[in-house]
Symmetry: C2
Amino acid sequence: MYFPSWLSQLYRGLSRPIRRTTQPIWGSLYRSLLQSSQRRIPEFSSFVVRTNTCGELRSSHLGQEVTLCGWIQYRRQNTFLVLRDFDGLVQVIIPQDESAASVKKILCEAPVESVVQVSGTVISRPAGQENPKMPTGEIEIKVKTAELLNACKKLPFEIKNFVKKTEALRLQYRYLDLRSFQMQYNLRLRSQMVMKMREYLCNLHGFVDIETPTLFKRTPGGAKEFLVPSREPGKFYSLPQSPQQFKQLLMVGGLDRYFQVARCYRDEGSRPDRQPEFTQIDIEMSFVDQTGIQSLIEGLLQYSWPNDKDPVVVPFPTMTFAEVLATYGTDKPDTRFGMKIIDISDVFRNTEIGFLQDALSKPHGTVKAICIPEGAKYLKRKDIESIRNFAADHFNQCSLLGKLRLECADLLETRGVVLRDPTLFSFLWVVDFPLFLPKEENPRELESAHHPFTAPHPSDIHLLYTEPKKARSQHYDLVLNGNEIGGGSIRIHNAELQRYILATLLKEDVKMLSHLLQALDYGAPPHGGIALGKQLFLL
Amino acid sequence: MYFPSWLSQLYRGLSRPIRRTTQPIWGSLYRSLLQSSQRRIPEFSSFVVRTNTCGELRSSHLGQEVTLCGWIQYRRQNTFLVLRDFDGLVQVIIPQDESAASVKKILCEAPVESVVQVSGTVISRPAGQENPKMPTGEIEIKVKTAELLNACKKLPFEIKNFVKKTEALRLQYRYLDLRSFQMQYNLRLRSQMVMKMREYLCNLHGFVDIETPTLFKRTPGGAKEFLVPSREPGKFYSLPQSPQQFKQLLMVGGLDRYFQVARCYRDEGSRPDRQPEFTQIDIEMSFVDQTGIQSLIEGLLQYSWPNDKDPVVVPFPTMTFAEVLATYGTDKPDTRFGMKIIDISDVFRNTEIGFLQDALSKPHGTVKAICIPEGAKYLKRKDIESIRNFAADHFNQCSLLGKLRLECADLLETRGVVLRDPTLFSFLWVVDFPLFLPKEENPRELESAHHPFTAPHPSDIHLLYTEPKKARSQHYDLVLNGNEIGGGSIRIHNAELQRYILATLLKEDVKMLSHLLQALDYGAPPHGGIALGKQLFLL
């Protein structure tokens, strides 16, 4: 029960408007997810004893004999109770006449959260007692028979207030947490969205869903892989960080279009935004260029986007790595708000202020600024102080201005300014990354900025033989509201070029990758791909 | 790139008729998989440079300017070549005029299996040169431009005869093996079939696709689990054999209908029919009984069955465990053919043959027979001898008659009798398994026949307290042509019953499962499920 970061992003966006309502509107929001002109509502009551779900009953069902199964949400004065299933809530009238004493006993004695099955008739609520806030608020159930399917012991806390409990308690009683409207909605949203992605890829565009092994051999440089001892002493499997090698081999195998909702593993220890196992939508195509992959992904997100959200507008804007760094001070900018970094060196060209003069006299020296809208109105003296301290703490880090921008945004939002609208989804392609970075341990040597299979930018191939540091790659990142939610590249399909980069530029032992090099020699098509939802591993 | 056993079953069924044709009919069979009244053919050429696939071109495309990408399958006398992609083959005419010398050079010099891109016009083949065996046999491509995308080095063998190569060579050059018609078909069939299963479960019947973790803690009795060392010394994750506990907790969490195409792990060493990791279609439902699950699965297979096969007939026949043992001598009988085991004790009630008298005089002593149709005609003296030896080797094993039946079928088939039609799919439900078996180490103690969460048969609950050995379970197996391709059960949802079975009958340490027992106490609905494609682990 976990989510890739880009989906939790979506959930976060959703959580605010939902919590604003005093009572969650069970069922109706979920149904709006499913409804659209082309899709029909699934048969939720096939193969089981119930005739209907609690949440689907409306005036159109009046007079129908129904059988319902669900949990007792609450009960009032032994006269009625509210029954809940995944689809919503319905009011059930407890019979008061002598002949139904056994039914009354069951329904009055079962503790809250017990599971019951009731049969009865859908009737109108008495005039004036309709509940317009409840999707089933026009009707109620006149019960004839009832069965206690499972009694619930006294819970360690009230379910109603469960969301206010600590994270640890929610995790300990995860199955109770899952009964909440929000968790039900999240899991169903994820399922629906991934299903639509599959339809788009498989049914509309001919992708083949192929499962690749997870018990694999170690990848060179795969420092963060989990190891699994095998039955042969001293031999280990490794759980791969992604199906990268497999999917490239599938392209060499002529599969043409591959996708997989792939489980990946990364042994990095726990951090709030990382998990040891996670899922990515893994895609690879033959005969494609960067534009092709970008259009594919824009179409994919447009097609699979929840019906209850504003539609996704395509194409997404594109910025180069150099541009985003200059404008936002990060390669994954939150573009929901402005406060861009502006070069104001010219303003201070003839300044007499000492530290600015110093800065501008250095090679490539610049003076940059962020304009905080109505900053003077909202930011107090201590805010300015904290910004100054933040800057001092991060002095000489090139990402300082990007962090300052977010820090200022945080400050403004604590003052009630809505800068980052949680209902807004601001996508951005970042392209033209450098192909190599200086190695941390030894800055004279090179390492791949992403991975060694990334193809160089077509205009920069000559630089590989002269100034490889300056070569740009055909890597692209998809950024959403300040998070990297996807990344991919056009891959090297030429064995000679791959050998040159591995052996000469990266000084890797090519023997470890001889199987891949050989595959490129035997008729590898040009190919490229992307992974959505992957965790960040650059920077 | 591996398949659950029930799908390889399907592939085996397919492989014979395909191999009978002298040349595989590229493309047409795959397209027939996709075509049906409700489904449209995917756009295979979206987002890429090609305008069409090689295999889709027909007379209806005459005169169209097309761009194709593919592999050079073969070339004849520098006049034409056959270009191949995943969708099929097309004939390309190599231009002979001076002005196209560079195009001719590219197309004549590129080695076989090189990757090329060609642009040109779809034209009719000259009268009399059409190839009716080739789906694109009415047309050819008059090329205007060509580009060599990647040259292929000399292959270690001819691709054409690849299927005759050893398994080891095929695995070493898996990416070349994958270019074969059969492998492309298999992978696409699997993808299509799983996609249709998802549509059935998710879109038609409201199941929620939920991913459960694979880095989990050890299960009691999970002796065959892979261990994964964590970052804390002495602490390990385990890779679970199935999501059994997770899916039951999801039902307690009110998810109502769960499914997952779940990766499972079993550390059993290598055997021909086992793999350390495999996939199962994992399903769980609330408020369901055995009949409900059976109908669901029958509908699932009917809906997802390949269009090019005879439709699945439902409902599937059902036999009890006792019946299949008596009739077929196994709990996973191949019901494509008869040769049932018949009790002929009465015939010999007054016999004077000593060893038969002996047998019948024992308690429960019986004499049983298998009638081999036309056995006298097909089986030679040495066959009878080998059957006799087989029987002697397996003497006193209760599964002897079942094995003998298959042994005789093998013998008859080597003589040319078609007993097990590879195009026939004979499904069977086996029900009413025993709930417990005597422990191998200590036959006075009990162990679960399947797993300890299996509910007892409603008619046998009283036996749990008197003669638990005689209690039947609500476990069901789905058998196809002699293979167990699925198994599941209605689960115990009552905490008291679960505690009694675990602690009193199975003598397990209930502390290890206290989280599950507690969950059952907090409003667990009645629930049950099934896993399709799982590996066998009973008997």
